[in-house]
Amino acid sequence: MISKKIAFLVVALVVVLIGSACKPAPTPTPTPKPAVPTPTPKPKVTEVKLVAWTIGPDEPSYYRRDNLIDAAKRLNKKLEEEGSPYRVKLEATFETGDWGDYKSKFMMAAEAKEAPDIILSGHEDVAPWSDAGFIIALDDYIAKYKDVYDDVIPALWPACTYKGKKWAIPQDTEARPMYHSKTLLKKLGWSDDEIAALPEKVKKGEFTLYDMLEVAKEAQDKGVVEPGYGYWTRPRKGGDFYAVYFAFGGEMQDPETGKLVLVKDAFLKHLKFHYDTVFTYKTTPEGFIGTEWKDWHTTVSAADKVLFWNGGTWHWAEWTIKYLDGNEQHLWDNVGFTLFPAGEAGKSPVELSHPLVYMVTADSKYPELAFRIITEATCPELNTRHSVESGHLAILKSQLEYPKYKEAKFLSEAGYMVEYAVYQPNHAKFGPYDTILWTALSAVMAGEVTPEEALDITVEDLKKELGDEVIIK
């Protein structure tokens, strides 16, 4: 008797055998198609955020920011053409506040390792910020993009150089002329020819600072201007005051050692000149330092109250845009400008320039990208629109022949002043040096001390605070 188990197994085997015999009909083999090339996958693009801080403080200088923004867009196109995996997104700011606050903000950010990638500032910050490790040297990058940087006016590179390395790229420069009111000179009895000849007389050293004070006093005595309106300095602390020191033959830096310098004779004359304009000639009001910028600009740009005043070329644009409702013709009709006159016979006129520079910070995670943005901004087109809008001078040789730059009448007429340029030094201790000199000057202008006392205090303080970092001649 066959067991049930064996019977089941036999039936299962039969079923399997029958099933395996029932194969589906074979699928017809398809005709092979030609191979389709696989597309190369696009590289993954990473957008990196970069930050740039810029400042005027004059409002017309907003292209310091906008040029970087446009440069970033141009850079992105180039990066795409190069097949780079990076694109940049630039966040740029523009401030119109105080220089001191702007620099303090940067300094605190840098110390907290949160500095922006690009910082715009005065060239005098190159020394302390490089010593502090806030910014990086750019020589290698400049060499890499040589074709752009060979176009920079050579005289501007010393302002970017410290301890043999380049730490910054020039953004602009300017001149600080002596302005005069043509209207008031005419009222004083000057002919049109005499007024037109004044810039040339200053250039030849035939019209000195004391000649200017004599004319200002004459204008006050004859009632052409009110007392204290013959000559206005800038109303607050700034480098312009040093133009007088340079005009009397002063120096600030020893070219061989790089040490700071004080020429006692020139500094005494610088102090005495400012004392004389306030107390001897009374052509500058007492207590003038501290006057609001707004009041100063409103008064001088009207050109009917103050006879002589010193300012910057960028002020021309600022007056036009902010104080004269775009009426630049008013300035051409009523205001003239010359170099800063020589201090005395035998000396030369001067021009104090203060180049502003772009720097790449040590906190930047993409320093080459940051540098390339600056490089894209360093071109005649972008720099000229800044120059024309804000009254700053060219930084590129090709810019001087750029049509829009050449068409700008003020830039053309003031451009020669850069040949007479003197600069404040790049030195880590320039800050304390400046504080000591400024304190002495403002004490003299306030009548607190005589020029001779101020000189003694200055020499003593320089020796105490700067030691052998300063040469006193």
Binding site: M107, D125, A446
Partner: protein
């Protein structure tokens, strides 16, 4: 004569008793320590530690350029401060600013306002106190701008517009009388603090005392002088000390209004001078070491002033238990 062993045992026993009683005392004070500990920790973190750090920085030549490579220079910053030609000028400015603002407004005007507003109709008093709070609650930059515009030269300044019809020659009041403007601007803000404290103190005086004074025939001025003022001695001490230290350390409105000018250190006070040197400068010259030394001196001046006040106001007597309860 005591044996040596006994002589040795007695101090041990005495020590044992002292340790025990000390331990018992500590245990009884421990709840107090626990309650005070958050405040103590905050004071340590936000006062003592910063003071110690400031003192340490003041013995260095730390600045922007030397921030990562500063040197210890001992007392050189203090010597520089003492030998500086300008230090007496800054000290004089600071003393003038603190004394004038304190006496004319922060304590003086505050007391006057509190006394006046508590002696008139309650609602009217509250309204006046609310108006006096406006300078304090206005953002400082806007407040400063209002003062700059109000004191501006003709034809812009409101002050000129109001008083020139009276024959007063218009001028830029900020430039011509900077101290008056600074003291007024700071005083209007400072008076409200004392006004609130004094008002609260005056209103806390039991009416029985005032009634008793009235019944005895005291005039309002006599009541103020012999009843109210003595009873609010403690709040006056508090406001005086607090406002003195506050004014010594404050420079916000001076910075916004005149920035220490016009001219040469005309309104530069000690704290503003330290700020200019240590934190803000046109050419970025910030000297942390010297600024810290200036700040350290301010701390010392503040402590000395507080001690003087506590002595003058007989602080110990003020906080002692009333004698009548000790009997």
């Amino acid at each position: 004569m005591k044996s040596k062993s006994t002589a040795r045992a007695i101090p041990l026993v005495r020590v044992g008793i002292n340790i025990r009683s000390l331990s018992a005392k500590l245990k009884s004070y421990s709840p107090a320590f626990m309650f005070m500990s958050p405040a103590v920790i905050l004071v340590m973190l936000f006062y003592f530690l910063p003071v110690i750090v400031t003192l340490w920085i003041s013995t260095t030549d730390m600045s922007v350029a030397t921030f990562r490579g500063y040197r210890m220079i001992g007392l050189a910053n203090y010597i520089r401060m003492l030998t500086s030609r300008w230090t007496p000028r800054i000290l004089k400015n600071t003393a003038f600013y603190v004394i004038m603002t304190l006496t004319c407004f922060n304590v003086g005007m505050a007391l006057v306002l509190a006394l006046l507003t508590t002696h008139i109709n309650k609602k009217v008093g509250m309204l006046f106190r609310a108006l006096w709070l406006l300078p304090r609650i206005t953002p400082s930059v806007i407040y400063a701008l209002l003062w700059i515009w109000a004191t501006a030269d003709a034809p812009f300044g409101i002050i000129n517009q109001l008083i020139s019809p009276l024959g007063v020659e218009p001028r830029n009041w900020m430039m011509k009388t900077p101290w008056a403007v600074i003291i007024l601007a700071n005083g209007f803000v400072g008076a409200s603090f004392g006004m609130i404290i004094f008002t609260s103190a005056i209103e806390s005086i039991l009416p029985d005392y005032l009634m008793a004074a009235k019944v005895d025939g005291a005039s309002t001025l006599q009541t103020i002088r012999y009843v109210i003022l003595p009873m609010i001695k403690w709040p006056i001490l508090f406001v005086l000390s607090y406002q003195t230290l506050s004014l010594l350390a404050s420079y916000e409105y001076i910075l916004l209004l005149t920035n220490g000018g016009p001219g040469f250190y005309t309104t530069e006070v000690w704290s503003l001078y330290a700020f200019h040197l240590a934190l803000s400068n046109y050419f970025g010259n910030v000297q942390f070491g010297y600024g810290a030394a200036l700040a350290a001196v301010l701390v010392v001046i503040g402590i000395i002033t507080s001690v003087i006040y506590l002595k003058v106001f007989r602080f110990r007597e003020l906080v002692a238990e009333p004698k009548i309860e000790a009997l």
